[in-house]
């Protein structure tokens, strides 16, 4: 009875004020009706959902100026403010939400790892759980297509480019000396701990105008914003010890990590083919401090110091007693960045990084001291006009000061140079629709040392052809100053350059990704010199050139086999260069024509274990055989390596980790060294350069102590 009375009353009220009808139709950009969209007057209870033909109609007692809202999942919300009489038979066209996961992404050339990436080639955990990667942040990347396996070097060789053509950035700031030094024929390791990062973008070409001074590739690492909790971590390994601690406060946090590595016990047990006078011993520490300001601003300061020391004698065909090589290296790296959001959808990102690297090298009788001080300053502004149009621009300054002091019994000299580069860039991201997007950028660089200004245009396009597939194209010009080994003797150079052309096809559906990318790179202004080694007396010029072309294929499947993930990559590379002291245009000895990798990971529930396996193949690399004449015309045997790892979760906080590289003990060949002079039969003798050891074992125990009993160091392995 009460309800009836109420209804009667409301009816009466409605009649008193008068009602108007809001009606119309909601369609998408193709004109297809949207069913079930939510339409209402903002701030009122009046509204409805669209019917099967996209139409809607509802009554309201509101009058005057009102705001009509139409919203539907995976479309941008529509709103219009007008006099209520205008909302009759209105047609509303909803725009696709270009931020949706199924929208096109501009990604030619780039592999993303991390939670936020729309299509992830690698997951954060893969960086550290790939067999054979041995906790090195570049290890897992070497199983992606576009990279060449150069087992004795350890750095990233991308698409026919040398290792120095790849630059690494942390939070947008350059890392000047990303690798710990090592002796000849022993792979280097990355200095940065992999667990510092939440996201990685690895670009094998055609990258953004924000980055420069890299001919082939950039690796962008984003550090975590806030650690989740306070904890202490202890690692005991066959190669050393590690200790870490994280403290959290209301707005800030501090993480400290220290490590001590000593390979002496390992080398006692498993001697390799070098004669070690002092096995590798290194001590390092790193600290990350993060502070969050009230206004969303975030400051991150990362500092790392490491010191390494070793001394060994290595076989050499021209020196009966071998070559003695000793090195003491000290490295300090500081990276500070600040990010903030401002009014009117502007944001600012600024930072500074500084590196000081000091190496004292003893090479037979010679003493060499190298000191490199480098800094990078950067300021970037971003303006978010809409989800469809973004602009970012900025400026940066690179400073490098290099000094070398060389002394032997007959010769002493000092070399030094300053290599400062100022650059600025502007870039825009435009979504024409959910299916078609473009990134257009321009970068200018001025080198004080070379007295040269360069301009690099960059362009990427992406088109979504079907529900699960897309095509992308990229073009770009890239410049890089010659490396320190040339600049210390000569500065009359131009910047080396490449042009990239990339075409990419990607299919991704339900935890499966297929990617194929074809590319062509054209190199110009490469440094040439006319002596056996780079010497102060060499004559230099900039007339070198080259090309690289190829096809990269990637397939990842996390779906077909339960509890198992695997990926496969294959790269075909055809490259020739005439640079350095090459006699003619030839395929460099770091480039192999075919590279393939298979990585498999299986979680075995009953054993609480993850079993990992990786297989790497690279076709033989080139070498010169003076007995046959010719230059880099011979091909060494192919490289094969099967690696396995096993992680056992003893309890949520204790992990036992075992890893064996090249478990089959395949005898790989890194190259050959020929005698300078022929023997009595007129034949040049040769020595086969093999890896220092065929296999490498690693056993570690990792223990995490925290309030949260579930956290562990699996992400560090």
């Amino acid at each position: 009875m009460k309800t009836n009375l109420f209804l009667l009353l409301t009816f009466f009220c409605y009649n008193l004020f008068g009602q108007s009808t809001i009606s119309g139709k909601i369609i998408d950009q193709q004109g297809v009706p949207i069913i079930g969209a939510n339409v209402y007057l903002n701030g009122t209870y009046d509204g409805t959902a669209t019917t099967d033909d996209g139409t809607f109609s509802f009554e309201t007692t509101s009058t005057g100026i009102q705001t009509l809202i139409a919203s539907f999942i995976s479309f941008e919300t529509y709103s219009k403010t007008a006099e209520i009489g205008n909302f009759k038979n209105i047609t509303i066209k909803l725009k696709d939400d270009v931020n949706a996961l199924d929208a096109v992404t501009v990604n030619a050339g780039t592999f993303n790892a991390g939670d936020n990436a729309k299509v992830t080639a690698l997951k954060p955990l893969d960086i550290v759980t790939t067999a054979g990667a041995l906790g090195d942040f570049v290890g897992a990347l070497q199983t992606l297509p576009g990279t060449s396996n150069v087992a004795e070097d350890g750095r990233l060789f991308v698409r026919g480019g040398g290792a120095e053509e790849t630059q690494i950035f942390v939070d947008g700031m350059r890392v000047f000396t990303p690798y710990s030094p090592s002796a000849n024929n022993i792979p280097v390791r990355g200095r940065l701990s992999p667990f510092l990062f939440k996201g990685i973008a690895f670009s094998t070409g055609g990258y953004s105008a924000e980055y420069g001074q890299a001919l082939s590739s950039v690796l962008l690492l984003n550090s975590i914003d806030q650690p989740q909790e306070e904890k202490t971590e202890i690692s005991v390994m066959t190669v050393g010890l590690g200790l870490g601690n994280t403290q959290k406060w209301k707005k800030s946090s501090l993480s400290l990590n220290t490590s001590y590595i000593n390979l002496a016990p390992y080398q006692k047990l498993y001697p390799d083919n070098n004669e070690w006078h002092k096995p590798v011993e290194s001590i390092g520490g790193e600290a990350v401090y993060r502070y969050k300001f009230n206004n969303e601003g975030l400051l991150k300061v990362y500092g790392a110091y490491s010191s390494a020391d070793f001394d060994l004698t290595q076989e050499d065909i021209n020196v009966a007693d071998g070559v003695r090589f000793g090195l003491k290296n000290e490295n300090l790296y500081i990276n500070a960045s600040y990010q903030d959001f401002m009014k009117k959808d502007w944001s600012i990102h600024t930072g500074v990084s500084f590196a000081r690297d000091r190496s004292v090298i003893k090479l037979n009788e010679a003493n060499i001291t190298d000191i490199e001080n480098s800094a990078h300053l950067k300021l970037v502004f971003k303006k978010y006009f809409s989800s469809r149009y973004k602009l970012n621009f900025g400026a940066e300054y690179f400073l490098t000061n290099f000094k070398e002091d060389y002394q032997d019994s007959s010769f002493a000299n000092k070399f030094k140079f300053n290599n400062n580069i100022f650059s600025s860039f502007i870039e825009t991201d435009v979504f024409f629709s959910k299916k078609f997007a473009a990134k257009v950028g321009l970068r200018g660089e001025h080198s004080e040392l070379l007295q040269e200004f360069t301009l690099s245009p960059r362009l990427s396009l992406a088109y979504k052809a079907g529900e699960n597939s897309q095509f992308s194209l990229a073009y770009g010009e890239f410049f890089q100053n010659p490396t320190n080994q040339y600049l210390k003797f000569n500065s009359d150079f131009k910047a080396e350059n490449t042009t990239h052309y990339i075409a990419n096809y990607q299919y991704s559906k339900n935890k499966q990704i297929f990617r194929a990318e074809a590319y062509y790179k054209n190199y110009g202004n490469l440094v040439k010199y006319d002596t056996l080694f780079v010497l102060p007396t060499s004559t230099f010029n900039n007339t070198g050139s080259g090309f690289a072309k190829g096809l990269d294929i990637f397939w990842r499947d996390n779906k077909t086999i339960k509890n198992t993930e695997y990926w496969m990559s294959y790269s075909y590379l055809d490259t020739k260069r005439d640079y350095q002291n090459y006699l003619t245009s030839a395929t460099p000895d770091f480039a192999s024509k075919h590279n393939a990798s298979l990585v498999v990971k299986r979680w075995i529930e009953d054993w609480k274990s993850q079993l990992g396996l990786s297989y790497n193949y690279a076709s033989g690399r080139t070498y010169t055989d003076p007995n046959k004449g010719g230059f880099l015309t011979e091909q060494a045997k192919s490289f094969n390596s099967l690696n396995v790892n096993y992680a056992y979760l003893i309890s949520p906080q204790k992990i036992l980790y075992l890893s064996v590289s090249n478990v089959l003990g395949t005898k790989n060949v890194n190259g050959y060294q020929y005698a300078d002079q022929p023997n009595m039969d007129g034949v040049f003798n040769r020595r086969t350069i093999t890896p220092a050891a065929d296999r490498f074992f690693f056993i570690g125990f990792f223990w995490t102590i925290s309030d949260n009993k579930n956290d562990n160091q699996l992400d560090q392995l």
Binding site: T3, G43, T120, Q228, N708
Partner: protein, 212 residues
């Protein structure tokens, strides 16, 4: 972790007394939700939220419906779209009501939806976040039965994953039931639900105290 599935059922009574438009709207939304008309219910909550600018409940329910209905989805694009939308509404709910334990544990549920979809991709970062959320929520509301239930279920899932006994957690479930029973249900439309879920787990506890 995948075993964590939360079914929220809400009990409410339709009063026969005169209703404000807010009550009318909320009642209608809950009845739509009860009839499994998730989209319609979420849309109505969204419309109510546009009026009730100082009330966190309508936005909270839009988020909750999107989260619950995204469990079991196979399409990552749709999952991401729904959960992104859910997060927007939870964000606006927590802007109205800061440090609200009910909203906080919904963020944990949102993370769980991602983890349930692909543990290898989302587990590493989000499970730690969840632990932090439950710790913070428990510090704010030590006697909130839903916080205790959510945290205990999460811990049980983890224990199960590592092949550990879940028996030690049964005590907390019993404590949660006591807290549910003692809870004073004073605020209309407040998400008081959860006791059925707690009782269900408690029954399982009695059946098997250890996985072996």
């Amino acid at each position: 972790m995948k075993s964590v599935v939360l079914i929220a059922t809400l009990i409410f009574t339709l009063s026969l007394t005169a209703q404000t438009p807010y009550e009318k709207g909320m009642n209608k939304a809950f009845s739509l939700w009860e009839q499994q008309k998730n989209t319609e219910a979420a849309q109505l909550f969204e419309r109510i939220a546009s009026v009730e600018k100082d009330n966190w409940l309508p936005s909270y329910y839009v988020g909750l419906i999107e989260i619950i209905s995204s469990f079991g989805l196979k399409d990552e694009a749709l999952l991401n779209t729904k959960l992104t939308r859910a997060k927007e509404f939870l964000d606006s709910a927590s802007a109205i009501s800061k440090d609200n334990p009910e909203i906080m544990i919904s963020y944990a549920l949102l993370n769980t939806a991602y983890i349930a979809f692909d543990g290898a991709k989302y587990g590493m970062t989000l499970s730690g976040e969840n632990v932090a959320i439950y710790q913070k929520a428990q510090a704010i509301a030590p006697n909130n039965p839903r916080v205790l239930l959510g945290k205990t279920e999460w811990d049980m899932g983890t224990a199960k994953f590592f092949g550990k006994s879940t028996a030690p957690y049964c005590e907390d479930i019993e404590r949660a039931i006591d807290l549910f029973e003692a809870e004073e249900q004073a605020i209309p439309y407040y998400p008081y639900s959860g006791i059925e879920r707690a009782k269900e787990i408690s029954n399982n506890c009695k059946k098997e105290t250890s996985p072996k």
